[in-house]
Amino acid sequence: MNQTSRREFLMFSGRLAVLGLGAAAAGRLLSGCAALDTIAQSGITIPVAGYNINTASIASSVKAVSKTFEDITPEQEYYIGRTIGAQILNKYRPYNRIAAKRYINVMGQTLAQASDRPETFGGYHFMIQDSDEINALAAPGGLIFITRGMLRCCPNEDAVAAVLAHEIGHVQHQHGLQAIKKSRLTEALTTLAVEGTKTFGNEQLAGLTRAFEDSITDITSTLINSGYSRAFENTADVTAVDILQRVGYNPNGLMDMLQQMGRQLKPGRLDFAKTHPDPKTRIEQITPLIGPYRPVKVIKNRQNRLEAALKGV
């Protein structure tokens, strides 16, 4: 009796296991079909289970899995960011005084570490650019640029930190990637989906590079020409205040910088005046967060190192 029951039980478990495996395999097959959806429209021939199938013949009304900027991996964001950085460098050349470069990078890194996104694929890196224009820009993934003109708007270290923290805010919230039109991502993904080998074939590489070029254009036209939306700028300011407070800077540094900028910006110039909301508007929006303006208390060590590092800037 005991023996029989055990055998029965083992057979029963065996059937269950077979059933489970079958279900899992069916699931796999189904997900495999879903994958075909994305490549069906491109009409290429792919080997499936030993047969060559032309995907165009599969279906014309298939749904591609919806992809947004959130599906861009940090690694891909990194490559987009490098190229955006190279584009920004095309606009302003680097200012390579070692002390200034080091100072901006240590400060920037301290702020980035305190943000909600301290780690990006390639990390945060900061560069001063040799221009009198008042500007600061962030490329996706954490390459951040600040002009000499902008640094001159910063009467204290807290104000410099405010500019960098604002740019870190854009990186954290991936504002750059959100400028990419959805069609580019679909194109990149479709190309990617038909590609299975280690390196891309000529056709795929051309397709991906086209999607890449278009994505870069989407970002640069927003970043350099039209600017982000007011909502994004406000988010970056709010994030900056948060980061400044976490590190121990006075968020009124942001106010100092905005006031100074308000005095120096010339309407019609191709810098911050073009791509950012009016400093007055920004001040009005930050005030409820940090209360009425209170001057930044000058801390001797902080002021001395600022003046030493940015001497001549």
């Binding site: 009796m1 005991n2 029951s5 039980f9 478990s13 997900s31 495999g32 879903a34 994958a35 075909l36 994305t38 899995v65 861009i72 991996t73 690694e75 987009i80 490098r82 190229t83 950085g85 190279a86 460098l89 095309n90 680097p94 990078n105 240590v106 400060m107 890194q109 301290t110 570490q113 305190a114 909600d116 996104r117 301290p118 780690e119 990006t120 694929f121 390639g122 990390g123 560069m127 390459l143 270290e157 993904l189 990617l192 590609e195 299975g196 280690k198 891309f200 991906l208 590079t209 890449f212 070029e213 994505s215 976490r246 590190v247 121990g248 800077y249 801390i299 060590n301 902080r302 190192r305």
Partner: protein
């Protein structure tokens, strides 16, 4: 007398199976992938904590607990624990050398990410040949500049900053 024994045996076996299944699921859900070039492991759950180890891109990391935005993880050596910020980790499995199957799976699901696919070095190289006016050497130099944890600590102290760290 035989019947209850057989009954107990079945239940014990089922229980063992259930426990094994649950344990496997628990381990599965407590593993994450490193989604950055170098995933820093800190001694404490704060950005002020010294870095005690690094994971490589795509490494699977065993998660022990979570505190705010920080995960307590098993060190790469397998001995001891440290803390990683959630921005360095993803729940997706990162496939380092993707084959055709992985590519189609990644296109249709949110569970896989492919390393080195999509916009990658090859695409950048192609873009560079089409845009020879762009200077990537300055970007490489920019990336080469690194800041140590000790420098950050000194910068905070010298500047009389009052960074609290903490798990945010």
């Amino acid at each position: 007398m035989n019947r209850p024994n057989c009954f107990q045996f079945r239940w014990r076996l089922l229980l063992i199976l259930a426990v094994a299944l649950l344990a496997a699921q628990a381990v599965g859900s407590q593993t994450m992938s490193v989604q950055v070039k170098s995933g820093q492991v800190r001694k404490s759950p704060t950005f002020l904590g010294p870095v005690i180890a690094n994971f490589a891109y795509g490494d699977r990391v065993q998660i022990l607990t979570q505190q705010g935005a920080w995960y307590q993880v098993v060190l790469p050596s397998g001995n001891g624990q440290g803390w990683m910020h959630m921005s360095a980790l993803t729940e997706k499995k990162i496939v380092l050398k993707a084959g055709a199957k992985d590519v189609s799976q990644a296109a249709s699901s949110d569970e896989l990410a492919l390393a080195g696919k999509g916009f990658n070095q090859q695409v950048e190289n192609e873009y560079r040949t089409r845009n020879p006016n762009l200077d990537f050497s300055q970007i490489d130099q920019m990336e080469a500049l690194t800041v140590s944890q000790a420098e950050i600590q000194a910068f905070i102290q010298d500047g009389r900053l009052t960074a609290q760290g903490g798990a945010q």
